[in-house]
């Protein structure tokens, strides 16, 4: 209490000012008078009495100063005075200040922006209640597409009964829904969840209620919980939304609540629905099929349970399952389950890219700090006389150091403030990049922690600069004055430091540019990848007329949809400029429907995994219009469509791609052979299909993914592919009108050319490469300024020397070469260090590269050449100035 009271008194003392000073002066004067009077009484002469009293006082001014220090908070007052002084001093050198503040703003701004993303996406604790207790179970197998095959309902049931270390296990199925809106329909991403989902996840509603176990089962009414984002964007944050009915997949669904803001997992969704929203999820195939896997699992650790315990228990339970149901777990596929903390699962895809960006930003900060350090060093030298005068006037080393620190703090904090503006400007772009990688991009914000980080960064920079700053050496005043009168060029250690900083700048720039170069080359390589199509100038259009349940269970609706699609095909084919229209799965896109299959007359080698293939559809026009080359056999013909079996396919024929042929019949002619797909609903292989043709592989999983086995079935469903004589986008509007007229409630998606679709797949990587390249360019610019600055300073310091050399006969060329070689040595050292650094650093990039080696010589060489050329240009400017020195003028000023 006493110290608190004292602290309050001192804070109050900050403002007591003049009156307290007057009081103090009167008090001290009284003391002095009393002592003088006493001395007189002892027999001194009045003058001597006062002199003795003054001597005994120990100095009136010092006493007043000590009392003042006790009265307020001296450090605060000194800090304020130092800051005022620093601002005044900086205002006198506006160019220096501007350059430093802008350089720091770029460095700090880049770091602030990227850190806010890293924090939002990777570091921030989950908003879920006890979110660190949540785990995601990942089921995976060997082979392409086997990263996350999800679980079947019977598997989840076994976990529920066997896993005592998990307090709750929630099921989630990705389930796009088609929402009826005023003008047609839109596809909205939704998730089907069990009633315990929200309780397990620890999420609460902001409005209405969330689903609960009573919403499970076939008798429950279909309900939807809106995500916060959907509620704000689609429903304008209307609080009356609870209780409203919407038409989703042709079903009337009641909105029962709005969820609190939370990261989307596993996908970005607009609404979470109870299971009864899908007939399929109520059906026997889903509920009883052990290999019918379409359920993702999130679970909560039981109180007291640890991750290793859960993993150990899961191994036991899962091994039991595999033993009991051998047919559902092909040993060759190496079925396994991983338990991953939810926050890690959320950040997984964004991690590499984000740490890469953070590293690049840190490099930029290192370069800008080095540059600022150099500028400060030069300014310090120019200010040496001033510092000498100050210390001659009584400023101690402590005081001088404080002044320097105050100046650097003012610079760094100004840089940070401007940097925050830079960060605000760049954050939108970054967020849109990260949204491709992480469901948590909506949590990115410049909050207190980010500002704390920025502030800490700027203080660190200020401390570093102050540590480097030149102060007069300890010692007597005379030696300090002497030191101050010497030319700066004699201070060898300082110049060494400057040169070292330039070398570091060049090296770091080379590393950054190498990374940028590799990523850019990756993009170039990816864009150049052969898609497998004859042309990318084909317009595509996904037309979805049926809800999933209609498509599965309503043959009449399906037949009507086919008729409508063929009507659209005919009408669009009649548009001017249209050369052909095909119906089928859109090119370069995965259908996501994958079956196990077997080839007739061929048994699997021991340990060989069951082959899997993706199923797509095509009509007779499709391959020709889409530009997918036929390699063997024939295309589909009208006769293939005369029969429609119960699943809606045409005849018992199939066209396969090269990858399928290689997998099913290696080294043989597949045409005429038969294959069968495994029907997970009936849990048996379907009818034999005769392969009538083989088509070329296309890059359906992205330009960097190998082609997977694909089987085409004859069916007029999916979407439209349109080939035109001119620009395909020119018929987009007319074609959309036709589709809309024939099927007013259909969902129309992906109205774009194949080339546009391909570019869209590349854009996150392109943006990533652009960002790193921007950092590289920034670094290059800053480093160039750094070299030029240091050389210019060196020229300034050596003016006399150069003058003497010239008057002794050195010509301009010689002087030019002298300065250029001075810069060239630094540049060369930096280049060597940079190449070595790049050699190690770029290995970390491996996962982001495609068809480029981490130490691609062409990239490294072009980076080195770029840096060398820019560096030499930067050296040229001060060198030219040196060459223009007039010896006559220099000699006269000696």
């Amino acid at each position: 209490v006493r110290s608190l009271r004292a602290a309050l008194a001192r804070i109050a003392g900050l403002f007591s000012g003049r009156r307290a000073d007057d009081d103090l002066r009167a008090e001290l004067e009284t003391h002095l008078e009393m002592e003088t009077a006493e001395n007189i009484r002892r027999g001194m002469a009045p003058g001597e009495a006062r002199r003795q009293a003054l001597l005994a006082s120990g100095g009136m001014t010092q006493a007043a100063e000590s009392v003042r220090d006790q009265r307020g908070l001296p450090w605060l007052e000194h800090a304020a005075a130092d800051t005022r002084y620093a601002i005044r001093a900086l205002r006198r050198s506006p160019v220096f200040t501007a350059v430093v503040v802008i350089t720091l703003a770029l460095g700090i701004g880049a770091n602030t922006a990227i850190f806010s993303v890293v924090r939002g996406v990777l570091l921030k604790p989950l908003p879920h209640q006890d979110g660190d207790r949540l785990v995601y179970l990942r089921h995976s197998i060997e082979g392409v597409g086997g990263d996350d095959i999800t679980f079947s309902v019977p598997e989840v049931r076994d976990f529920r009964t066997g896993m005592s270390s998990l307090a709750g296990i929630a099921e989630y199925s990705t389930w796009d829904g088609i929402l009826r809106v005023d003008d047609g329909a839109v596809r909205i991403p939704t998730g089907l969840v069990t009633g315990n989902y929200f309780e397990v996840m620890g999420l609460a509603p902001v409005l209405g209620r969330v689903t609960r176990p009573s919403d499970d089962g076939p008798k429950a009414a279909p309900v939807a919980v809106l995500t916060h984002e959907c509620w704000t964007n689609r429903f304008g944050g209307d609080s009356g939304v609870v209780g409203k009915q919407v038409i989703l997949d042709g079903r009337s669904v009641t909105i029962i609540g709005v969820l609190q803001p939370a990261p989307f997992f596993p996908d970005r969704v607009d609404a979470l629905l109870n299971m009864v929203n899908s007939d399929h999820h109520m059906g026997a195939a889903m509920v009883e099929g052990r290999s019918h896997r379409m359920t993702q699992v999130v679970a909560r650790l039981a109180p007291g349970a640890t991750l290793p315990q859960v993993r150990a228990q899961l191994d036991v339970v899962y091994a039991r399952m595999r033993n009991q149901f051998k047919e559902a777990y092909d040993p060759a596929a190496q079925y396994r389950v991983a338990v991953i903390p939810l926050h890690e699962a959320l950040g997984e895809r964004a991690k590499l890219t984000l740490w890469l960006l953070m590293g690049a930003a840190a490099f930029v900060l290192v370069i800008s700090a080095a540059n600022v350090a150099n500028l400060t060093l030069m300014r310090g030298v120019r200010r040496e006389p001033e510092i000498v005068v100050r210390s001659a006037l009584g400023a101690g080393p402590g005081r001088l150091r404080r002044l320097v620190l105050a100046e650097n703090l003012v610079l760094a904090v100004s840089g940070a403030l401007l940097g925050i503006l830079v960060a605000i400007g760049g954050l939108g772009l970054l967020t849109s990049l990260v949204a491709r990688y992480s469901p948590r991009s909506n949590e990115i914000s410049l909050d207190g922690v980010v500002f704390g980080f920025t502030f800490a960064l700027s203080v660190a920079v200020a401390l570093l600069l102050s540590f480097l700053a030149s102060l007069p050496q300890e010692g007597g005043l005379a030696s300090r004055i002497l030191a101050g009168t010497q030319r700066a060029s004699r201070n060898l250690s300082k110049r060494r430091l400057q040169r070292a900083l330039v070398v570091v700048q060049v090296a770091v720039t080379v590393v950054l540019l190498a990374g940028a170069g590799l990523l850019t080359r990756t993009i170039v390589r990816l864009s150049a990848v052969d898609t497998g199509l004859r042309t990318e100038e084909v317009l595509t259009m996904q037309v979805t007329q049926l809800s999933r349940d209609e498509a599965r269970g309503n043959p009449a609706a399906r037949a009507a949809a086919v008729v409508r699609l063929q009507e659209m095909q005919r009408e669009i084919a009649g548009l001017p400029g249209v050369l052909g229209v095909g119906i089928g799965s859109l090119p370069l896109r995965r259908s996501g429907i994958v079956f196990d299959f077997r080839a007739e007359g061929r048994s699997l080698a021991p340990g060989e995994a069951t082959p899997r293939a993706e199923v797509r559809v095509a009509d007779p026009e499709y391959f020709r219009v889409a530009g997918i080359p036929l390699l063997a056999g024939r295309e589909f013909e009208a006769t293939d469509f005369t029969r429609a079996n119960e699943v809606g396919w045409g005849g018992a024929v199939a066209i396969v791609n090269q990858a399928f042929a290689d997998r099913a019949f290696p080294g043989q002619d597949p045409v005429g052979r038969r294959v069968a797909g495994f029907d997970v609903v009936k849990f048996e292989y379907g009818e034999w299909l005769t392969i009538v043709g083989v088509v070329r592989n296309t890059r359906d999983g992205g330009m960097d993914a190998e082609a997977e086995p694909v089987m085409f079935r004859p069916s007029a469903s999916g979407g439209l592919v349109i080939r035109t004589s001119g620009d395909p986008s020119s018929v987009a509007a007319a074609a959309t009108r036709i589709v809309r007229r024939i099927a007013p409630t259909a969902l129309i998606e992906h109205v774009m050319t194949v080339a546009q679709f391909k570019e869209r797949g590349l854009s996150p990587r392109r943006l990533n490469a652009v960002l790193i390249s921007a950092f590289g360019g920034l670094a290059l610019l800053i480093a160039a300024v750094g070299i030029a600055g240091v050389l210019a300073f060196s020229v300034g310091a050596r003016t006399t020397e150069i003058g003497i050399r010239m008057s002794l006969g050195a010509d301009r060329g010689r002087v030019l070469r002298m300065i250029l070689s001075e810069g060239g040595v630094l540049l060369a050292a930096g280049l060597v260090a940079g190449v070595v650094g790049a050699f190690f650093a770029t290995r970390l990039l491996q996962g982001l590269l495609f068809d480029v080696l981490p130490h691609d010589p062409a990239t490294l060489i072009s980076v080195v050449v770029t840096m060398a050329v820019i560096g030499m240009v930067a050296c040229w400017i001060p060198a030219l100035r040196a060459a223009r020195i007039d010896p006559a003028i220099t000699m006269r000023s000696l």
Binding site: R2, R5, M34, E38, A63
Partner: protein, 117 residues
């Protein structure tokens, strides 16, 4: 006058206790009076300059142990008088006790350690 070398600087922390004690014995007193009293009590071995005394007085005032008031001296000079507050009295008792304990402890330490060695 005693030679300069014999004069002691006031030890850190002890001055506050001396001031409190002086005010307890003599009641309300001005700065000069306090300084004189402390110097006399020390047999003139202590020398208090203003820069030591007045910050200490201000600190005690800030902590609420003493209160200050302007008043008149016998010679009709305006002077600031300091007096103990109730909190100051308690503080004096506490600090006196502490000091005695410290002094005993130090005496034990610095005394002969015959038994130990």
């Amino acid at each position: 006058m005693t030679p300069l070398t014999d004069k002691l600087d006031v030890q850190q922390g002890t001055l506050a206790l001396m001031i409190l004690r002086t005010l307890q014995v003599l009641g309300s007193l001005h700065g000069y009076g306090i300084a004189r009293r402390i110097e006399e009590t020390s047999g003139n071995r202590l020398k208090l300059n203003y820069g030591t005394l007045y910050p200490a007085l201000l600190k005690l005032e800030q902590e609420g142990s003493i209160a200050a008031e302007w008043g008149q001296t016998e010679n009709n000079r305006r002077a600031k008088y300091y007096a103990l507050t109730p909190a100051g009295r308690k503080e004096l008792v506490r600090e006196t006790k502490e000091w005695h304990q410290t002094a005993e402890l130090m005496a034990a330490f610095l005394g002969p350690w015959a038994e130990a060695s």
